[in-house]
């Protein structure tokens, strides 16, 4: 693996979108977390679906750590997209949409991928996506879901190109 940073082209309006999504994720898995929430369940899968004793032991021993790692990953992404003005109404259109280069250090690329994936899993749970064909063009959340998938795909390609 190369230690070179991965470059992502991203517009301010996208950074703001991403920042809000990461904030939502942090809220979901932060204090006051609801373990019964299907999205939380999807982020902390049961590795022993046929053995409730083993599942309980595993979860009580590892769930907190897993959520702490998720929060740390989200914090990395959050820090990278911080510093965007929070008032898009005041932006000139050309400023809001012009892509800028965001450099992601090689050591942080996995945190980005895990976080984009986690947000997609949450949205998919909320939308009830159960197979790859599920899509509703009238629901704006599908637009966000597809956009995150596109961002993730671009990031994977850029990382693969970097590592040769």
């Amino acid at each position: 693996m190369s230690a070179r940073p991965v470059r992502m082209r991203i517009a301010p309006v996208e950074r703001l979108q991403l920042r809000r999504l990461v904030q939502d994720l942090c809220k979901l898995i932060g204090p006051g977390i609801d373990p019964e929430d299907p999205a939380v369940a999807r982020l902390t899968p049961n590795p022993y679906p046929d053995d409730s004793d083993a599942a309980r032991d595993f979860r009580s021993g590892t769930r907190g750590d897993l959520l702490a790692r998720r929060a740390a990953d989200a914090g990395i992404v959050s820090a990278a997209v911080a510093g965007v003005a929070d008032e898009p109404d005041s932006w000139a259109e050309e400023t809001a949409l012009v892509e800028e280069v965001l450099e992601i250090p090689a050591a942080e690329v996995d945190a980005w991928m895990r976080t984009l994936t986690a947000i997609r899993l949450v949205i998919a749970t909320r939308l009830g996506i159960v197979d790859e064909e599920d899509h509703d063009p009238d629901d704006a959340r599908f637009g966000v879901y597809d956009w995150l998938g596109y961002r993730l795909e671009m990031l994977i390609q850029a990382a693969e190109d970097q590592s040769g």
């Binding site: 590795p47 590892t62 895990r114 390609q157």
Partner: protein
């Protein structure tokens, strides 16, 4: 024939037989969310599999619904399953069928 300088500790063999290593497996299940390229990358970078092997496993998950991605001691398999969960993949741990 001369006697060996050291005789093997037979007790150790007995101990090994008394506690055979039962293989466990990590199984990754198909889901409609994770991108194929992402799953290949996770298998390749986390397990150190070749691009070809990682792609084979991803296709098995996609087409057959699941694939065994690792086999070994239970504790190690649980560590792998946790890593898969970190990456958002749906992984379970089970005793290898005899």
């Amino acid at each position: 024939m001369s006697a060996p300088l050291a005789t093997p500790e037979l007790d150790e063999d007995v101990d090994l037989l008394a506690a055979p290593l039962e293989p466990w497996q990590v199984v990754v299940w198909n889901d409609p969310v994770n991108l194929m390229s992402y799953v290949v990358r996770v298998f390749r970078t986390y397990f150190g599999y070749s691009q070809e092997r990682a792609t084979q496993l991803m296709l098995a998950v996609h087409n057959e619904g699941h694939a065994i991605v690792a086999t070994g001691p239970r504790e190690t398999m649980e560590v792998h399953a946790q890593a898969m969960h970190d990456y958002g993949l749906w992984a379970t741990v089970r005793k290898a069928p005899l």
